[in-house]
Symmetry: C2
Subunit: 330 residues, 2 copies
């Protein structure tokens, strides 16, 4: 491959770990990914409204392709690459929704996706990634093993690494869910997303505050994985202490970009104990008849755990981040 001299503007941004997308970048991402994504529906439930005493608008990213919002960011990232960056495919290390999302986004673009996964990952996730055409390399279940295997794969294939959250185009892509929600319901008082690595929350906060400066942006985070909460308190990124939560999409610490976005635009992070995550998930399953994964239940659960935060009787938009979880049929 010849060296790239003329990177397009959006691609050069991917190496810039201080520049955040603006609403214009999120709108551009939306135009770019629209032919590939589902415009997911917004569900309401009169019984949940009645039980909790507020007016909820649930953006159903569990119905998104690959079953999670991650497909928005992955698609935007792949479509934003220069032909040179795209030529040898893309890669990531992940055992979760980002891996499946990147595999499908790459397949749609006609390039290979190299996915590094721990051999211990659930069989269902391996099948999902392989089903979307991802080329899997297995490694030991440690961060070091993942990174060194990823470096090896990049060396061998020349693929472009796509970080799951700490990347300009990923944040811009994830922000498109909030754009759609606010297009449908412009007068929300509060908008919420769960926070793990912070890609969804960053995009949501930038989009929401730009579209409506009066809106309150809250995140829900598991009490047992409260590194984002501690990071905002400390004013610097705090590592996730080995987290122990059912919300397996929210184990990661923030990155430099997502910390900056969240620090600038998010009003509060509310914490949720494990038992309330399960209660909130059950409430959505039983009352709305839709399947959400535990991570998606954290914003609702964090409200249930913080009844005095002034959200009663408000119009609250919640992004249900995904629906990929093991289901036991009894």
């Amino acid at each position: 491959m010849t060296p790239n001299i003329n990177f397009p503007a959006t691609s050069s941004m991917s190496g810039n770990l201080t520049l955040l997308p603006t609403l214009v970048d999120i709108f551009n991402a939306h135009s770019r990914i629209k032919p590939f994504i589902h415009r997911t529906p917004v569900f309401t439930s009169s019984s949940i409204n009645q039980i909790l005493g507020a007016e909820f608008y649930f953006k159903c990213e569990n119905f998104q392709k690959v079953g999670a919002f991650k497909f928005r960011g992955a698609t935007n990232a792949v479509l934003s690459l220069s032909p040179q960056e795209l030529a040898c495919g893309v890669g990531t290390h992940s055992s979760g929704n980002h891996a499946a999302a990147l595999a499908l986004a790459a397949r749609n673009a006609g390039v290979p996706a190299y996915i590094v996964m721990p051999g211990t990952a659930p069989e269902i996730k391996k099948i999902a990634v392989a089903g979307y055409g991802g080329i899997i390399s297995y490694c030991e279940p440690t961060l070091e093993a993942r990174e060194s295997m990823m470096a090896k794969v990049q060396m061998e294939t020349g693929c472009t690494f796509i970080h799951p959250f700490n990347r300009f185009e990923i944040i811009a892509g994830q922000g498109t869910a909030a754009v759609e929600l606010l297009e449908d319901y412009p007068d929300l008082d509060i908008i919420m997303a769960p926070v793990g690595g912070g890609g969804l929350l960053s995009g949501t906060a930038i989009a929401a505050k730009s579209m409506n400066p009066d809106i309150t942006v809250w995140a829900g985070e598991p009490e047992n994985a409260d590194d984002a909460f501690r990071s905002l308190s400390a004013g610097s990124i705090q590592e996730a202490v080995p987290p122990n939560t059912i919300a397996d999409g929210l184990l990661t610490s923030l990155g430099s970009l997502t910390f900056k976005a969240i620090n600038n635009h998010v009003n509060s992070i509310l914490l949720c104990p494990e038992v309330i995550i399960t209660q909130a998930m059950r409430l959505v399953w039983e009352r709305m008849k839709i399947i959400i994964e535990p991570s998606s239940a954290v914003p609702l659960g964090s409200l249930m755990s913080n009844p005095d935060k002034g959200w009663k009787n408000k119009k609250i938009g919640i992004i249900l981040s995904g629906g990929n979880c093991h289901i036991a049929l009894t």
Copy 2:
């Protein structure tokens, strides 16, 4: 109460066990119940289409109020009663969705609903019926006990008994789901519903064949509760042998009206073994991220069990009848 001399036409029909509703009756039912029901969405799934090799359109009655299509028929029945019939409330014996549906329909009409349930019914169903304001009388778990308790309650309260399926207005109400599905997708090749007592299937068949004489109407029935299949073969109503199926909404035998409608309008009843019901349910849960009860999975499962019936590559509408089931979270 004074005796009723001038019953309105629709009410007198409820005592007539040979007259079936026509498409006009179903349209009238639709106008009557529209302010009370959800117009449920029709979901599609490219992955299910690809896996099974046909084009599926799923009418999501799991999102209907009380979580099942039953609310359509119950609402139509309550709203069709004369003031005299309505005055002392309505009643039924049921441990399933019809009980919850009638309780809510009665509450919307401002009259009491007397529900006879076996004391052994699942706690969650008792809570649901009570939550909609139903007044529950418990009895032993036999048909005799239910009928004699119902007679006692009717004697004491003067309530009007609303049969769960063998009633003109119930069939007309249930047919409105197919009307909506065919309004949205007029060019279906096949339309399917599950069959238990046959109210949904009767309404579906009458509506579909009247709106499009070329459409094929199929039912799905559990192999372990195949009384409707045997009834069509024999040309007369066959009793359900004590059935043993996970599809707990499909245990009942046909009634005189539903047998007639099904015999006249349904092309075939396809059977589905238990293990395939569970597979079909899992397919919908995992791929579509929506919760359906086992009964709802029977039509899809019956196709999977009968791959050579000529449905491949066809446009197939399936009414997902409900979403009320016990969920285990692991």
